[in-house]
């Protein structure tokens, strides 16, 4: 009597692994290809034919009657699903196959409460200080696994409307700089030209080298404000929390002359 997921597999052997899940996780990291194949999600019984996984999905649609069996298998299924998700991801991001289960384990959107109601249990335990409570608000948003790009907010001095950029869409600082120009050029012109704008306005250039009217800065995950462009792109992407385009004249001399965290990092 259960709803059926798209993918199911019948590897009773994996039942054993539930109890030792931690251990299994470590083992998985040392797995060679063979072992991975054995634990691969399949419909066939273990040691059976090496059938194509995707062919099994199709078969699933036709053979969804063995409901009781599913109940056991689903619990394994979720574990294996999680562990076999891309090891590159540092944040929890279940592969889409793991939604389709009905046994213990998280299912997307169930129970049907909206995300802001989901973290009441954790936030109520820290009533002591407002600063603690503030942080739990952030966690609320992150608990829901989101599969979107890497969006960070970007604001520009003297422009009231902020934007969001997807850093995953750019491969380097040049592209980011170009995007900032595209995003804000019109808005900035509108702000400055009260009579309603004749065309696009001046291009926003020199964001990275300190030579332009504006400079691109960012706030990293430790709350420090930094100039954009000094560290390798990937390092920047992994630590940036928000961006800000500020007037170059506002940059303190300390920052400009490189007496900043980034110099310490370089050295």
């Amino acid at each position: 009597m259960e709803g059926c997921p798209r993918n199911r597999e019948t590897c009773p052997k994996l039942l054993d692994l539930i109890h030792q899940e931690r251990k299994w996780y470590h083992d998985e990291e040392k797995n060679n290809a063979d072992q991975e194949k054995k634990l691969e999600l399949r419909l066939a019984p273990p040691g059976g034919d090496e059938e194509d996984g995707s062919a099994m999905k199709k078969k699933n649609i036709d053979t969804r009657n063995n409901i009781k069996k599913e109940a056991e298998e689903k619990s394994i299924f979720n574990l294996s699903g999680n562990h076999f998700s891309s090891s590159n991801k540092t944040t929890y991001a279940p592969p889409h196959i793991s939604h389709k289960r009905t046994a213990p384990g998280p299912v997307v959107g169930w129970p049907p409460v909206r995300s802001f109601r989901k973290n009441l249990a954790s936030s109520s335990s820290s009533k002591l200080g407002n600063d603690q409570i503030n942080k739990s608000g952030d966690e609320e948003k992150q608990v829901q696994p989101k599969r979107e790009g890497m969006f960070v907010k970007i604001n520009m001095d003297s422009v009231p409307i902020g934007r969001k950029v997807d850093l995953n869409a750019y491969s380097g600082y040049e592209q980011l700089s170009f995007a900032v120009d595209k995003l804000f050029r019109g808005l900035l012109a509108a702000q400055r030209d009260a009579s309603g704008g004749e065309g696009e306005g001046k291009p926003i250039i020199g964001l990275l080298d300190g030579k332009g009217e504006f400079t691109l800065t960012y706030e990293d995950n430790e709350g420090d404000k930094m100039l954009v462009g000094d560290v390798p792109w990937q390092m920047f992407v992994s630590s940036v929390k928000r961006l800000r385009v500020i007037k170059s004249s506002e940059i303190s001399s300390a920052l400009r002359f490189g007496c900043s965290k980034q110099d310490k990092m370089k050295n």
């Binding site: 009597m1 709803g3 798209r6 995707s54 649609i61 129970p111 599969r147 979107e148 409307i161």
Partner: protein, 621 residues
């Protein structure tokens, strides 16, 4: 006929009166009503007089269902109705284009637009699916310069949209954003600043990004027209001093819902300055750290509540410090609406408070009040119309402090109950049946047994009988959400007895296609059907072919549908838009062998065909 919203009526009118394109003079026999495109002067004066009379009469007609009926009488009535309709409700923003709206209705003052289907709230829909406000604001900006009110639900609204709104409507008065996203405090700031006639700014359950803009300070100086300001969903601190000044210069303010960054001390300051409030969102309802334990004289909170003689609605309590809750006692007897659904209140703390709340009609709370708390509600709140109990710990294997016991108690004490949403871990058919018998006024029954496929925990049987009793006994039922272990029999009962049901929500239920067939071959008034993770397949879907033109939408996710049947429906019903997509928005390259499986089907009727703004991951068949 099914629900008579704009699109449905418009469609029928199109079909029956053939308004677009204009009638050609050649092959049509003369008719008794005039064409709007006629170039000759109207044949006689009485028709003009009639239209004037009609216009003056129709101005009094507010209900959209009545207006929809009026518009079908004849062309003349259609035209006059279109010119006098000032409030337009659009239940699905994709059921028609903004241009069509502007063509038909010429003097709109208030617009209510709904976008995404409800399951989007639970992350079942990939982001960037659509429901953008942008095309609507662009068209209405030109068509309705005197627009005063906009209400949006589950729409994607950007800061630019808000800026355009603020710039385009000089008389703009009311903005209500329910469950929306895509904008931030900078957009709110622009509205606050530019809409000088603003009376209502309500941000409710929306996601508002923190652009670090002090939007409260953006309200213009001088006396405001503000009557309602709700920002309890804004998850960023506000400038309290500016809020205080705003409240002082807003003499018409009746509803103020603050967010959790407003402490109890700050709330006190606001209450003292605005004792005329009728609705108060209390913010955190806990003391800020500076004052805690310093022995400073604490403000007299009870006295501040006592001074608010008009207060009838209380909400907030985001980080409730339970020792302060008794401060609300002076207003309890007047309260008609209480929302404790963010507060982890134990039964001991709860009982003394609720004992005085005789007039409560709407009550929302967490299940932390337990069955005992519900019994206390049942003993006191005889006027209760709407109850919502949310889970403090929304997981499938949590303790479950409320059960059939609480449900039954409520049914026995609150006979006037009309609407209930109840989350629990376990339930019995007996309790659900009791409610069906004790509460004949029920129009909304939504029971969520959080453990999937869970049977009656006393008898071990499916929950079929309980839900069956609900549809049999609650003759006014229009909205139903089911859960727990359910067989096809439950759906047979729903199909047979759910004669007025307009919205049905199904999850992890049923045995086979028959379940879906029972629904689609029964439930004559069904408009909105949302199903997830249930074993309903192509045969079931096809059985509803005769209905989909008359429904607002059907959502089916993680069921047993294949592309073929969805394509068949799309082919057979040209005025139904059939969208299929996966739950991941990066599933753009469809896995070849799996291409036939439909993870999510969302289909809806539309007057203007498939939308042009569908993202790549959506396929419109």
């Amino acid at each position: 006929m099914a629900e008579e919203d704009l699109s449905e009526m418009a469609k029928d009118v199109e079909l029956h009166l053939k308004l677009d394109p204009p009638l050609s003079a050649n092959n049509k026999p003369s008719r008794s009503f005039k064409t709007s495109s006629s170039s000759s002067p109207p044949p006689c004066d009485t028709s003009h007089v009639l239209e004037n009379v009609l216009e003056n009469v129709l101005k009094f007609l507010e209900s959209r269902r009545d207006r929809n009926a009026v518009s079908l009488v004849c062309r003349s009535w259609y035209r006059v109705e279109a010119q006098t309709r000032s409030e337009v409700f659009i239940g699905n923003c994709y059921s028609l284009s903004p241009a069509r709206l502007a063509r038909r209705f010429t003097r709109v003052r208030s617009l209510f637009l709904k976008g995404k289907p409800r399951f989007a709230d639970f992350n079942l829909m990939p982001p960037d699916w659509g429901a953008r406000f942008a095309p609507w604001v662009a068209v209405t900006a030109k068509a309705y310069p005197w627009l005063e009110k906009v209400t949006l639900k589950r729409m994607f609204v950007t800061d630019d949209d808000l800026a355009l709104l603020a710039a385009s409507f000089p008389g703009f008065k009311e903005l209500v954003l329910l469950c929306c996203e895509g904008f931030g405090t900078s957009g709110v700031a622009v509205v606050a600043n530019k809409c000088r006639q603003l009376k209502v700014l309500d941000l409710i359950e929306s996601e508002v990004t923190d652009d670090e803009v002090d939007w409260i300070s953006c309200f213009p100086e001088g006396e405001t027209h503000l009557e309602s300001l709700s920002f309890d969903c804004v998850e960023s601190p506000i400038n309290f001093k500016a809020l205080e000044r705003l409240v002082v210069r807003s003499p018409f303010l009746k509803k103020l819902r603050t967010n959790r960054f407003v402490s109890l001390e700050e709330l006190h300051r606001l209450m003292v300055r605005a004792p005329q409030l009728t609705s108060l969102g209390t913010g955190s309802f806990s003391s800020s750290t500076e004052n805690a334990g310093q022995g400073e004289q604490e403000p007299d909170y009870a006295s501040a509540f006592r001074a608010c003689r008009s207060l009838v609605c209380l909400s907030g309590f985001r980080e409730l410090a339970a020792e302060y809750l008794p401060a609300i006692s002076p207003v309890c007897a007047n309260l008609t609406s209480i929302n404790f659904s963010y507060a982890n209140i134990s039964p001991d703390v709860f009982r003394p408070i609720i004992r005085n709340c005789h007039n409560v009609r709407v009550f929302w709370a967490l299940d932390s009040i337990c069955d005992e708390g519900l019994q206390a509600v049942a003993a006191t709140c005889k006027e209760l119309r709407e109850l919502r109990i949310f889970p403090f710990d929304p997981s499938e294997d949590s303790e479950g402090p409320v059960s059939g016991l609480g449900l039954q108690a409520i049914s026995e004490g609150c006979r006037k109950l009309e609407s209930i949403l109840y989350f629990c871990q376990r339930m019995t058919n007996v309790a659900v049946t009791a409610m069906s018998e004790n509460c004949p006024q029920l129009t909304v029954f939504r029971l969520c047994i959080m453990g999937r496929h869970r049977p009656d925990h006393v008898t071990g049987k499916p929950m079929d009988d309980g839900f069956g009793a609900i549809v049999k006994n609650c003759k006014k039922l229009t909205r139903l959400a089911v859960s727990g272990l359910l067989t096809d029999k439950a759906f047979s009962l729903i199909g047979e007895y759910g004669k007025l049901i307009r919205t049905l929500s199904v999850a992890f239920a049923g045995d086979s296609d028959m379940g879906l067939r029972y629904i689609l071959e029964g439930c004559p008034k069904l408009e909105k059907l949302e199903i997830r993770d249930s074993p309903f397949g192509d045969a079931g879907l096809r059985s509803g072919m005769h209905r989909y033109n008359d429904m607002r939408f059907v959502w089916m996710s993680s069921c047993r549908l294949s592309r073929g049947s969805c394509s068949d429906i799309a082919r057979a019903l040209p005025s139904v838009v059939v969208e299929v997509f996966g739950s991941d928005d990066d599933d753009v390259d469809v896995d070849e062998d799996n291409a036939d499986y439909v993870e999510i089907l969302y289909m809806y009727r539309s007057l203007d065909g498939p939308r042009k703004d569908a993202p790549k991951f959506v396929t419109i068949l």
